[in-house]
Amino acid sequence: MPRYRSPVFPFVRPPELDGRAGRRWPVAIVGAGPVGLAAAIDLALAGIASVVIDESNVVSTGSRAICWSKRTLEIFDRLGVGDRMVAKGVTWKVGRLFHRDREVYAFDLLPEPGHKRPAFINLQQYYVEEYLIDRARDFPDLIELRFMSRVTDAGQDPDCAWVDVETPEGKYRLAADYVIACDGVRSTVRRSLGLDFIGRAFEERFLITDVEMAVEFPSERWFWFEPPFHDGQSALLHKQPDNIYRIDLQLGSGADPEEERRPERVIPRIRAMVGERPFEVDWISVYSFQCRRLARFVHDRVIFAGDSAHIVSPFGARGGNGGIQDVDNLCWKLATVLKGEGPPALLETYNTERVHGADENILNSARATSFMTPKSRMEHLFRDEVLALASTHPFARQLVNSGRLSRPCSLAGFSLGTAETSDLGGTMVPGAPCLDAPVRGANGEDGWLLDHLGGSFIALGFGALASTPPGVRGLTVGGSGDLQDPQGLLAARYDGAPSVVYLIRPDQHVAARFREPTVAEISRALARAQGSSNA
């Protein structure tokens, strides 16, 4: 019996059903999952109105995604929902790997201090969606949520994209300048456009359950190869809020999903794992996984984001986190184009940058899944012997792969970044996602760098900042500037010294960096970062 009860969102009769032409929406978003909701909020923050259309009237059934990465939390901060997610979530950063009954390896995903957000929180997808819906409701003039509204077809003409919507009270067609398809892995929009995924599927089946137990296991990710309590190849235990634990048990490729989903089958498996502790099963599901994507995410006025564009196995927590990074990348560009501040070609850089991100996620997820599901005797031998060597030879521990957990994606080398001409050191090269650092504000209040970045282009200047071109907000560090660097971490992480200036994108990625730039240089970098091809 699930513990969480979703709010039920009512159907509201839209004007289109009464023959009134609805308004022409700048953006229609199909799907109110984490990705669609985040997109609506991000666009609203940029002043762009959108309508979100979802076939359901509740949030995600079952917890599905649980691990939300530091980068996602930073984006959620920008969207104004980070605090609520972190307050409810279980913070963690350590993963432990076991082989049979012995621990082989532990990893710390954020070993250094001086960051606002932890490496990860665990929070059930239904809470994430509920909080995003609450936040979306802060923008009644800019976000309209339409529940119990199923998109049955989608297409486009030269001047607009459209979706056909089916509701309990009838059907209508809705037109928009752009449609963002966030309708998940079985995307109707994708099918309507005749598009298909490329990539690979794994046959292996995994039992994924959420179990409620009043115990205090540590807030760590525990992963077993050849667990002593389960006859399959692997198992995972991971804590969520409300005394809920995620348990994954690998079942093999021959497992019958219908059979394995039955509580009579599931309960003894969990019992073998958790012993005599009382528990209640909250959610049961049997999955097989794919690592695939669309060839392109941008199809003129129809743009794909999240699981509709790419799908990965969950080992590495790259699905939802990848989707939120799609939103982060797309929305400021779409807003720029809709406001006429940049050419439609800017949207093509969403395609190249996020196809790159998806490929990184697919590569890592597929490798982890391959390690867990050796497909030949020789692969099996290598896997076994990596695990065996790991107990005596520390180097082998790093070959053990139970999932390489989601990391922010670097866009170094892509076209919006200005090639580096300075001799600046450190990792904050053009394209890098900005690292956080503790800062002190003008009134002496302690805060975090990333809370001052994002939303618009920013020139972050160490020492004095001469002047900034129109459209760029200046932010100075040190002296009588906007921010102080009390621990010196900001200067350390950005190789900051007087006269160093960073141009930072609305999605908190470095666009350019210089020593003593002229305004013209910053302007050129800005034009380039806004997709102007002659910059």
């Binding site: 590569l363 020789m378 031998l381 012997e385 065996a388 060597l389 030879h393 180097f395 082998a396 070959l399």
Partner: protein, 74 residues
């Protein structure tokens, strides 16, 4: 082809026969499965020791039969 970095000229001095015999001796008395595992561990240990991507890529290419690799190898 860029400059080859894998040493394919003789590199074992006067120890070649000894080392070959040593390798055979290590397999003596093992079942096929145990032997296969020994080889696997040896590959992993040496791979880490070499630690040079270009060398290892060349070695893998040199060792693999000339059938093309399947494209979905990740």
């Amino acid at each position: 082809m860029t400059d080859p970095t894998l040493t394919t000229t003789w590199n074992l001095g006067t120890d070649g026969d000894d080392l070959y015999a040593r390798l055979m001796a290590a397999h003596e008395g093992l079942t096929d499965d145990e032997s296969a595992r020994l080889n696997v561990r040896l590959v992993l240990l040496l791979m880490n020791h070499i630690g040079d991507r270009a060398v290892l890529e060349e070695a893998i290419a040199a060792a693999r039969p000339s059938r093309p690799e399947p494209t979905n190898a990740t």
